[in-house]
């Protein structure tokens, strides 16, 4: 949360680019985000291994999903824990459209976004209509996750317990199937860029400020003219849509989907929650920082223990969450923010 609105007039015109990129913490976060995206974009030039490219792709996807959750839980403060529902619905929509109806995934992922958005509307309306707050809201979303998992386990049309594999096909751009990693990288980076831009636009708009007012104090927001029901619903719709689109990409990249794998709280922690929590929930750069710290470290640790001891990933994520909440409640972004303020005003040690 930025508390330094800087109206310093630059004395040196040559510094104006620097100024526009770094003059406020918010701008610094955006600049840093785009620099990171840029680095990822040129990474194929110096990264050969498909394994490492895969880590980058997933990290970028997790960042995108993290942004989608950040809008709901970070900006608006809604305890929508089982966010993975939206990703799963988007993924299922995309793969069913492709496999069964031959609809191009380029369209499919956006339809997936719409399906997820619809689920978001339903969740928002129900929880608002019945006044489900805080813990009850969180529990409700978890119950939905379990219910949906059970439904999808039994629903033959979407593959049931076995799940669905992407229909075998020759690599083609039209079908979003490629035989190498870089094309996937560029698609996910495009999505991530979109996410960064949307997140920033929201943050700087009336809607974003209203989201944050709701998070800070709903009753006060209402007293000041904020239609809290409308804005809470909006935040869920936006977050759900982005997550649904991300889910569509996810299924095209991993080429497989199944209920136990996706309607899964552990996966929810890994893909949705860990990034923004570590990076800083509610901040602009948190989801991205978190995802690009999270995924590589988790992979590194998993790589070190050569024997496939699958518990390691969970241990790492669990520790990440615990340590973040205990010692870095504002996440990495919060740490960097403090650093940024120190660098900006080195003389003013007293706040």
């Amino acid at each position: 949360m930025s508390a330094d609105v800087s109206n310093k007039i630059t004395r040196n015109p040559r510094k104006s680019l620097w100024h526009s990129l770094f003059s406020t913490w918010d701008r610094t976060q955006i600049t840093a985000s785009f620099i990171l995206v840029g680095l990822m974009a040129i990474s194929p030039l110096f990264v050969d291994s498909p394994y490492f490219m895969g880590i980058i792709i997933l990290a970028a996807l997790y960042a995108f999903i993290g942004i989608s959750w950040n809008i709901i839980a970070g900006f608006t403060g809604q305890l929508l824990i089982a966010h993975i529902i939206f990703l799963a619905l988007g993924g299922y929509t995309t793969i069913v459209l492709l496999n069964t109806y031959r609809v191009s995934p380029w369209v499919g992922i956006f339809v997936g976004g719409l399906v997820a958005a619809s689920a978001g509307i339903i969740i928002a309306l129900i929880t608002l209509r019945y006044g489900l707050k805080l813990d009850y809201f969180a529990l409700f979303t978890i119950a939905l996750l379990v219910a949906l998992r059970t439904l999808f386990l039994k629903w033959e049309f979407v593959g049931g317990a076995v799940g669905m594999y992407l229909r075998l096909a020759k690599p083609s751009t039209a079908k979003m199937i490629f035989d190498s990693k870089p094309p996937y990288l560029y698609i996910v980076l495009a999505l991530l860029t979109l996410g960064i831009v949307i997140q920033y636009l929201i943050y700087n708009s009336k809607m974003g400020k209203y989201f944050m007012a709701i998070r800070e104090d709903e009753a006060a927001a209402s007293a000041l003219g904020v239609n809290t029901s409308r804005y809470k619903t909006l935040s869920v719709i936006i977050g759900a849509t982005l997550a649904g689109i991300g889910g569509g990409f996810y299924v095209m990249y991993v080429t497989f989907i199944d209920p136990t794998g996706l309607f899964n709280l552990g996966v929810n922690v890994e893909i949705v929650m860990a990034g923004p929590i570590i990076g800083g929930l509610g901040s602009l750069s948190g989801p991205i920082l978190g995802a690009f710290v999270n995924k590589p470290i988790a992979e590194l640790i998993r790589g070190f223990l050569a024997e496939e001891r699958s518990g390691i990933t969970l241990i790492v994520y669990g520790l990440f969450l615990i340590l973040s909440i205990m010692f870095m409640p504002r996440g990495l972004a919060g740490v960097f923010h403090s650093l940024y303020l120190k660098i900006k005003r080195p003389s003013k040690e007293e706040a």
């Binding site: 949360m1 209203y210 007012a213 800070e216 007293a223 000041l224 003219g225 239609n227």
Partner: protein
């Protein structure tokens, strides 16, 4: 018809009648105070007018329009805004951002909201606090922020809920000054207050509530000499001594 017309509102909680046949009329630029011993029903009446409690009887009319059961945000949009007795700042946001939230009630444009917020802060002498994070303010600052935020919504009527509670004398003076300035700007003010000094220096008219009933209404000098009023307050003093 007055700007704000409260007509015989009543509120019950179970068997207890908290407020009965409460009426009030308020016009542009007026300052009216609601006082009464503890438990008189002041906050209840306030909350009914502000839209936080549903009235069991009676109507609240604003600019001729029945607002009795509207949502708080709808009421604010119409031009009636309230503050909270226990202040509720947006703690993680800056003072400026807090006030901007109020300003957005009248505009969708960022620049306009920013300009308006800065104008309000300037008018109320709070400009140098703009960048402070709300949670870092002392209680007096948060109370002033509460008022500034409400003013940014460009209200015609401002409802102040025991704003002076917990303030030191100097701080109280400052807030009294703020309220006077706002009144001069044309905002009608209805305040619930416990601190008599504030009431006497600000109010043009006083309503006294006791056990939910209106026992006196009029100009300060008269109300203060009203034997029923004295009884009500002394009765309370006797009960606690």
């Amino acid at each position: 018809m007055a700007l704000l017309e409260v007509q015989n509102i009543a509120k019950r909680f179970g068997g207890l009648v908290a407020v009965n046949e409460f009426s009030l009329s308020l016009d542009r630029g007026e300052i009216v105070a609601l006082i009464g011993p503890n438990g008189a029903g002041k906050t209840t009446a306030f909350n009914v007018i502000a839209g936080y409690y549903k009235a069991d009887a009676g109507k609240v009319l604003f600019n001729g329009r029945d607002i009795t059961n509207l949502r708080p945000d709808q009421i604010c949009a119409l031009g009636l805004v309230r503050t909270f007795q226990v202040v509720r700042p947006f703690r993680g946001l800056s003072v400026l951002e807090n006030v901007m939230i109020g300003a957005y009630a009248r505009t969708n444009n960022n620049h306009e909201a920013l300009a308006r917020a800065e104008e309000v802060l300037d008018f109320l002498g709070m400009s140098k606090l703009s960048d402070r994070v709300a949670s870092g303010l002392p209680i007096a600052g948060r109370k002033r922020l509460e008022i500034a935020r409400a003013v940014a919504t460009d209200p015609q009527v401002l409802l102040l809920d025991e704003t002076m509670a917990g303030l030191r004398p100097l701080e109280t003076e400052e807030v009294i000054g703020m309220v006077r300035k706002l009144s001069e700007r044309g905002i009608a003010i209805f305040l619930v207050e416990h601190v008599m000094k504030v009431v006497m220096s600000l109010a043009e008219r006083i309503i006294v509530l006791h056990h939910g009933e209106t026992i006196a209404q009029g100009i300060p000098s008269e109300v203060v000499r009203n034997p029923q009023v004295i009884d009500a307050y002394l009765g309370e003093a006797n009960a606690t001594s």
